[in-house]
């Protein structure tokens, strides 16, 4: 599987899409954070983490969209699948590579808390609280894993990268925004919808509370998406 991870990462760094996504992501999140930072007068990264479920819902599908779609349309899918590699190894490799790439894109954002910490200095009253920052990044990785799995499922379903991209964004954005629509949802369903919401699980992790319910959510939904992608690959064998 590491063989596939290495190949995919190398290919991601060789293609302009990866860089474009990384640069736009950093520019947008940096601007969103610092444009209101001094107005809020708070030394935290809330503005960055609050929007992460939505920004990542655009980043992850952009990275995963080509993973299987491009291989299906160019035919490389056939020459790879007939190597002594299983569909699960190929899919797993692509998943790990996509997740690693998103994590690499997140690395430069570590500058945000570092620069904030240096600006506000060391006095105990104004100091940056590192707890939510660490929680936020753990949540970001879980969120990215879920989105990458959904992106791969979309990519396995279509030969067309754009279709895969939009499909994945639609599903990820739904999971990110569904908790904002609670007011139109009948009361008995509210609990269920809240459980579906990626944002509420992410926020709970980002608060620094690592609840098993949140872990179960990310692992089971991400796992289900990967399982679905594997099933689609098997269906393609006829």
């Amino acid at each position: 599987m590491w063989l596939v991870v290495r190949r995919e990462l190398r290919s991601a760094f060789g293609s302009p899409i990866g860089y474009v996504v990384a640069v736009v992501f950093l520019a947008v999140t940096g601007w969103l954070l610092f444009s209101t930072f001094f107005l809020n007068g708070r030394a935290d990264l809330r503005a960055f983490f609050e929007l992460l479920p939505i920004t990542l819902a655009l980043v992850a599908p952009a990275i995963t969209m080509r993973q299987l779609s491009e291989e299906l349309s160019s035919g490389t899918y056939e020459s790879v699948l007939t190597l002594p590699l299983s569909a699960a190894q190929i899919l797993g490799g692509k998943f790990v590579a996509s997740l690693l790439f998103v994590m690499i894109v997140l690395v430069p954002t570590l500058l945000y808390p570092l620069s904030i910490a240096s600006v506000v200095g060391g006095s105990a009253a104004t100091q940056l609280d590192w707890g939510p920052v660490v929680g936020g990044y753990i949540g970001a990785i879980l969120l990215a894993g879920l989105y990458c799995a959904i992106g791969l499922l979309a990519s396995s379903a279509s030969r067309n990268q754009i279709v895969a991209f939009i499909l994945a964004i639609a599903v990820c954005a739904f999971l990110a925004l569904v908790d904002r629509m609670l007011f139109i949802i009948p009361a008995p369903l509210v609990g269920l919808i809240q459980f579906l919401s990626a944002t509420s699980h992410f926020e709970s992790v980002a608060r620094g509370v690592l609840d098993t319910r949140d872990l179960v959510y990310f692992v089971s939904f991400g796992g289900a998406a990967l399982f679905g992608a594997h099933a689609v690959m098997q269906v393609r064998r006829g």
Partner: protein
């Protein structure tokens, strides 16, 4: 029509293979086997089911029914059998953003070739396939011929017992075709090879044995000489009669001794004329006037066709399919 008798245990054994996509039957009840060390040509027109058959043997597609055994292992959802197969799909689709050297590294790693062995193996493959000058060029930038050679090396890198090549010479210029053929011949000395083509001459010059499939069915199986014998003898006769319907005329001529097949070539309903093409083992022209007269029809034209039997039937069956 039966399997060719193979004294040695077959290394590839295809039994009653069928594959359909909805209502389309790509392969129908196909059975054949390949002996160890044999070079088998899979011959047939485009869309005959060659690619589908190869994709099932490599495990890329699942058969609708029937089984394939490769080196004694049933081709199923496991990946055990993949180790013994090197496969080059049609048009040699490999990752365009990778250089040839990295592609070979990738395939070698997938096949579990130990690192220390790779250096020697790459050197041998690059000289065998003529890749010395392009090892460090991205695959996308290679010419058609080099892509094909890189694909061959990619398929060979795991030192597989069996090599499966889908139309390895399609899209190449005549010089490249000759080169690829000689590489295949060389490889075939130490391995079992199946390759597909729609060119009879190519299969003849390169293969130990030929399997012809058409419309998903096995049409012939044997050495080039045997296959040609089965096709070669025969005469095509074109007959035009008046006063008979298509069905009547076809029915009557099919009963004539040594006529194998009757095809309607042209019809003129208003004039009540119909032209037929008879595929016969011998020239039956002498007998035809009597037969026609007995039915009360008129014989308007009769000629031995100048087309060879093969091309005449190709033309006619092609017209019918359209």
């Amino acid at each position: 029509m039966a399997n060719a008798p193979v004294a040695r245990s077959p290394v590839i054994d295809v039994q009653h293979l069928s594959k359909s996509y909805g209502d389309t039957h790509a392969v129908r009840d196909l059975s054949f086997s390949v002996a160890r060390g044999e070079v088998l040509g899979l011959l047939g027109p485009n869309g005959a089911g060659k690619s589908t058959t190869m994709r099932i043997i490599t495990g890329y597609l699942r058969p609708t029914s029937g089984t394939v055994r490769v080196a004694g292992t049933v081709v199923d959802d496991s990946d055990v059998f993949k180790q013994s197969i090197g496969y080059l799909p049609e048009f040699s689709p490999l990752y365009g953003d990778m250089i040839v050297y990295d592609l070979l590294q990738f395939a070698a790693a997938a096949h579990g070739v130990p690192r220390p062995e790779r250096r020697d193996r790459f050197r041998r493959l690059s000289s065998q396939c003529g890749l010395e000058t392009v090892m460090h060029r991205p695959f996308d930038q290679l010419s058609r011929g080099y892509k094909q050679r890189a694909g061959l090396a990619y398929a060979l890198v795991g030192d597989p017992e069996i090599l499966i090549l889908d139309e390895p010479t399609s899209g190449l210029d005549p010089n490249q075709i000759v080169e690829i053929r000689s590489v295949i011949k060389e490889i075939g000395q130490s391995r079992t090879v199946i390759f597909s083509t729609h060119i009879l001459a190519e299969a003849e010059s390169t293969c130990d044995r030929i399997v012809i499939i058409n419309d998903g069915r096995l049409v012939a199986d044997g050495t080039a000489a045997q296959v040609k014998d089965a096709e070669a003898p025969g005469v095509a006769i074109r007959v035009t009669v008046r006063g008979a319907s298509e069905a009547e005329a076809t029915g009557v001529f099919e009963q004539v001794d040594s006529v194998d097949r009757v095809l309607v070539d042209e019809r003129d309903g208003a004039a009540g004329e119909v032209s037929l093409l008879l595929a016969c083992r011998e020239d039956v022209r002498a007998a035809l006037p009597t037969i026609v007269a007995e039915r009360g029809w008129s014989l308007l034209e009769m000629a031995r066709s100048t087309e060879s039997l093969e091309t005449a039937f190709q033309r006619l069956t092609g017209k019918r399919n359209r």
